[in-house]
């Protein structure tokens, strides 16, 4: 058993988790709930083992390094963090329905990592610029933030759906949307998740700046990736202020949670593929 196999298995287990949570949500079969949680927990442990094993393998190949330094590894870690944060929310707020809105993100991330072309799964050694503990800190903290924002977007989505139903303020198991938590609760969890993400994104941007400074002597150079992370940070700062000082809540915050996550995706994915594509297209 090697790490690629373990991580490969994870993709399918998260798909199965997604199905279980969705079935639990739609058919309200009470027994499916604990099963979904148990299954997700096992998938999570398999993934943890896979990531750990990959680390060990890199040492066996004589280039020991944390498994966090290319697209494949970071997306895998992203999925891992989403599940981690989701499981904490499930445990803290005692609600399983959120799983149907959060776990799919982890599955999609894993599917992307596993099947997208142009993503290498090989363990390659680190070029000199990437050999830095600040880089590891940077990747870990950014992805905790991104994962929290993914969960917040899932919650925002859930809020908007629930908002269309008559059972807005209550839980009423007899209808599909009725079984979702009351709007106030969703709103509160969304906000808390975004606050958590904002803290980690801030730390992520800071550790990235420290890394840049130790490698090149400039902590900020307005390159597209840096700038986009700052744009994302501004969007969430706006969201926090609108809520705290102007009393925004509900639908607006739900939309901002989704909008913010789109900016996250662009920061991570778009900058690499769309903007650099734009540049190389232009210079051809």
């Amino acid at each position: 058993m090697n790490s690629s196999q373990l991580i490969g298995i994870t993709t399918f287990t998260y798909l199965f988790s997604t199905i279980l949570y969705t079935a639990f949500f739609i058919f309200k079969t009470k027994r499916l709930g604990p099963l979904a949680t148990l299954f997700t927990l096992i998938a999570f442990l398999i993934q943890t083992a896979g990531i750990g094993l990959r680390w060990v393998e890199s040492y066996q190949m004589g280039m020991g390094r944390a498994p966090l330094t290319n697209i494949y590894e970071s997306v895998v870690f992203f999925a891992w963090t989403i599940i981690f944060i989701y499981l904490i929310i499930e445990w803290k707020f005692k609600t399983r329905i959120i799983g149907a809105f959060a776990v799919p993100f982890a599955f999609l991330a894993m599917a992307y990592a596993s099947f997208a072309s142009g993503i290498t799964k090989e363990i390659v050694p680190l070029v000199p610029a990437l050999q830095s503990n600040w880089l590891i800190a940077h990747v870990v903290t950014c992805f905790i933030g991104y994962a929290a924002f993914a969960v917040a977007a899932g919650l925002g989505f859930m809020y908007l759906i629930k908002n269309t139903s008559e059972t807005r303020q209550s839980t009423n198991d007899s209808t599909l949307l009725g079984s979702l938590p009351p709007l106030k609760v969703i709103d509160d969890i969304t906000h808390k998740t975004m606050v958590f993400g904002f803290l980690w994104l801030s730390i992520g941007i800071i550790t990235g700046a420290i890394w840049a400074n130790s490698a090149w002597g400039t902590y900020w150079s307005w390159d597209p990736k840096e700038t986009w992370s700052l744009i994302t940070w501004f969007i969430y700062a706006i969201t926090l202020h609108a809520r705290y000082t102007r009393g925004w809540g509900g639908t607006r915050i739900a939309w901002l949670a989704i909008f913010g996550f789109i900016s996250v995706i662009f920061t991570y994915y778009g900058v690499n593929f769309l903007l650099s594509g734009l540049h190389s297209y232009g210079s051809n």
């Binding site: 050694p125 904002f198 800071i206 002597g217 400039t218 700038t227 000082t245 102007r246 903007l275």
Partner: protein, 440 residues
């Protein structure tokens, strides 16, 4: 006493903050789509003359992020932050320092959550029992005697009300650090061949020369490779010299620079030469000599008519891995041998032995930065994280216990309290307190 004039109101408003942040976010996008810091010709070739001109007029190119209008937006954010804090902080400070025992009882009676119970002891001794109870649970209570009873007050985390202001101040500190860095620092670079010394570097933006005030020498540069041929490390052995004397020696790699007198040298690039650095030591006399030898040229050493040439080389890309050396001192046939880059061999000749080492010659590309503001920026960053944790996860919790004297010398107690954030969390704490506090 507040000065409510419209201009002040404008600059202190959160609406302005939302507006500024929104504009910063949206305009920042432009500079990520239109490449920055290219030449004027580059923009004309790419976008055409008219569009390129328009970009220039709008200061979108060549460097939007240092243009007047973008810096003004950042400046506006700072002014907004300062005025907003100046406006609100005194009020927050008054809340922190407030005399909480001086509170109308009517307000206590309306507060939520509440808990009431009776104790058979008179108010004074009830107060001391309860105070003790609270102390055990980490609440230090103050006490004041009222007309018909006693009031106890205890609080936690009053200072956490400053969290938001710590975050806001940290942003100003980061800006201050950036301004210090760009006013009193520089970013420069230099290409320094092995064995050479320089005291001059060249700035990025204007290519003007800067005198370091000391000298730096590159003693050696080498590249290490992984087994699969990928570069593993670029390493420059550097020496800093003051008046010709070495004061510091350090091998730098990417991510591990050398700092001296506030100036930092970063490994950033390199340039291979078609020349070789050859060192020969006569093992008998101990005489030692180093020379720079171009490829396929014969070099005369001073000793014994010694001559040496590099007649062949194997390379990975532009980096030579092995070279073939021709050596003679006219005592017998010339020696011909292969030598791995950077290693040493012993060559036996008729009358003596020579230790010969050779390596391809490189220039190391150093990035040179002076940034006296960087520690201000870092302090700002640390402060921001601290402030965020305080603002997000800590709250100011207050509890009051009003002990009223009842007929017959017993006490009835009203406990209430509040927190400025995380009400649910506070209610739990309050609940536990009501369960454990002395009720007999």
């Amino acid at each position: 006493m507040k000065n409510r004039n419209p201009i002040w109101d404008f600059f202190t408003s959160v609406k302005l903050a939302l507006f500024t942040l929104f504009f910063l976010a949206t305009t920042s996008v432009i500079g990520t789509i239109i490449p920055q810091k290219e030449s004027a010709q580059w923009y004309i070739d790419k976008y055409g003359e008219t569009t390129a001109n328009l970009f220039q007029i709008l200061s979108i190119t060549p460097d939007m992020y240092t243009s007047g209008w973008f810096l003004s937006l950042l400046g506006l954010l700072c002014i907004n932050l300062i005025t907003c804090s100046v406006d609100r902080f005194p009020g927050v400070w008054r809340q922190i320092k407030a005399d909480n025992l001086d509170i109308p009882l009517a307000r206590l009676e309306k507060m939520d959550p509440q808990f009431c119970w009776q104790l058979p002891t008179p108010p004074a001794s009830t107060a001391s029992t309860l105070k003790n109870d609270l102390r055990v649970r980490g609440w230090k209570a103050e006490e004041r005697t009222l007309a018909n009873g006693l009031l106890l007050f205890a609080q936690k985390g009053a200072m956490t009300r400053t969290g938001v202001y710590i975050v806001h101040a940290s942003i100003l500190l980061i800006f201050a650090g950036a301004i210090i860095g760009s006013s009193f620092g520089f970013k420069a670079s230099v290409m320094l061949p092995e064995t050479r010394t320089t005291d001059t570097v060249y700035t990025f933006d204007t290519h003007s020369s800067i005198n370091l005030g000391f000298e730096i020498r590159c003693d050696r540069f080498n590249i290490e490779f992984y087994d699969n041929g990928m570069p593993k490390a670029y390493r420059s052995q550097l020496s800093i010299l003051e008046k010709g004397k070495v004061v510091i020696e350090k091998a730098i790699v990417v991510n591990d620079p050398l700092s001296y007198k506030g100036i930092t040298f970063y490994q950033s690039s390199y340039e291979p030469y078609q020349e070789f650095l050859v060192t020969i030591t006569d093992k008998k006399t101990g005489l030692n000599e180093t020379a720079i030898i171009p490829y396929k040229q014969q070099q005369n050493f001073t000793e014994n008519g010694l001559r040496l040439g590099i007649i062949n080389a194997e390379a990975q890309g532009q980096s030579v891995s092995r070279m073939k050396i021709w050596l003679t001192d006219d005592k017998g046939e010339p020696s011909l041998f292969w030598l791995t880059d950077g290693e040493q061999v012993t060559v036996e000749r008729a009358t003596t032995k020579y230790a010969v080492s050779a390596k391809q010659m490189y220039a190391t590309g150093l990035q040179v930065a002076k940034d006296p503001g960087v520690w201000v920026v870092y302090s700002g960053c640390a402060l921001m994280i601290l402030g965020l944790i305080v603002a997000f996860f800590m709250s100011h919790q207050r509890i009051w216990l009003y002990i009223r004297e009842e007929t017959g010398g017993t006490s009835s107690i009203l406990m209430t309290g509040n927190a400025n954030k995380n009400k649910a969390g506070f209610e739990k704490i309050f609940q536990t307190l009501t369960e454990t506090i002395n009720k007999v």
